[in-house]
Symmetry: C2
């Protein structure tokens, strides 16, 4: 079974995992072992301990080099957004770790295979195993492909509360009037609608945003206004 | 000035720092820059962001490999003890970073040069600079010399609350009677005294400990009892 995952990873990322026992350890839950007393291996928790630290350092090194002009506050903020349950769970799914994990029966029945927190742990354990098997440089290469590249595409923007950030920025020197207003609404395919919202400061328009709900359109407007003001 | 620190580090640790500007950045506080508008460099905060993550990963990798039989709970506990203000401040002093840091005048007057939190930041910034200048392997070599070696000598034991840990361990299966009793007191040099305390579980002696106060002797007894019971 793990030879198949090994082959998938080789084909997709050109990474040739040597030690299959390590890959299996990264994908074995404690409950599975409890239910299989004859099982010789370990569960993933030690590798998760290791992988957590590898993800922290890898992300810090990447951000430090990528954004030479950012101060430590901004670097820390983006690192916190990156290194979190939802983004790691997405990576586990992308590598199909959710399909290969060995779970206890109760965990299986309770839907653990789709539980974000389990998938986050698996990602960290997998990265711990990859580090031991292939070293730091290969970890960084994989992260470049599947993780850091998503920064460029604004993947992490969805986790940022730009409406709060814009308000904070504009109110730095006292109370201001920030107003969101729906300015257009159009029918698109599948019976869906596209909304356009403007955001204004003391009556002066800062930006427009669009989205499939007014809430999404407001968020988009706030993001654009915020990014323009902090460029 | 930083050439002198560079020479000290080369002599003591055989580490040859190349980029003096990076070493200077790691040892320059923001307040110093505010007071010297002509100053061209940066303060240490970006390097501190980087070094924090380097220390986390380095410690995790070291512990993972050093203690193959420990579970992740025990690994995490020791890592938390290691990666903390007091131990990093001690390392800054050991490398004389406290002597070289460029501080603002107000900070200097308020005693920042001896402030544990500043010395912790400096250590992280220095490790960030060392990583950029020399790479991970040299960071690990320095940490082996000045940091990891202290685990062997029980350096981190002083930060562990063994009385609480012993109580927790003994009470796992219900209430028990744990009793500390002073059993000896002797005069030593410099008008000091040495106390010996025993710790007993339900009237049965577990261990003895000595110290220059009864409190220290109790801690020592608790540590020995705990270590005997968890061996």
């Amino acid at each position: 079974m793990f030879a198949q995952l090994q082959a998938e990873i080789a084909q997709k990322y050109d990474i040739h995992f040597n030690n299959l026992a390590l890959l299996e350890e990264a994908l074995t839950q404690a409950n599975y072992i409890n239910e299989h007393p004859e099982y010789q291996g370990r569960d993933y928790q030690r590798l998760e301990f290791l992988g957590d630290a590898i993800m922290q350092q890898s992300s810090a090194v990447y951000l430090f080099k990528k954004y030479p002009d950012w101060d430590e506050g901004r670097l820390t903020e983006l690192r916190i957004l990156m290194v979190q349950t939802r983004s790691f769970a997405a990576l586990s799914r992308e590598l199909h770790l959710d399909r290969y994990v060995q779970l206890g029966r109760g965990e299986e029945l309770s839907g653990a295979r789709n539980r974000e927190s389990l998938l986050e742990d698996l990602w960290e354990a997998f990265i711990g195993a990859l580090y031991l098997d292939q070293g730091q440089a290969v970890v960084m290469r994989l992260l470049d492909l599947v993780f850091f590249s998503k920064i460029e595409t604004g993947f992490y923007d969805r986790f940022v509360d730009y409406k709060s950030k814009l308000q904070e920025l504009l109110q730095k020197n006292g109370t201001v009037d920030i107003n969101y207003e729906k300015i257009a609404e159009q029918q698109i395919e599948n019976n869906e609608q596209l909304f356009t919202v403007s955001v204004a400061l003391n009556g002066q328009k800062l930006a427009e945003g669009t989205g499939k709900s007014t809430k999404d359109a407001e968020k988009a407007a706030a993001r654009i206004a915020y990014q323009n003001l902090t460029k």
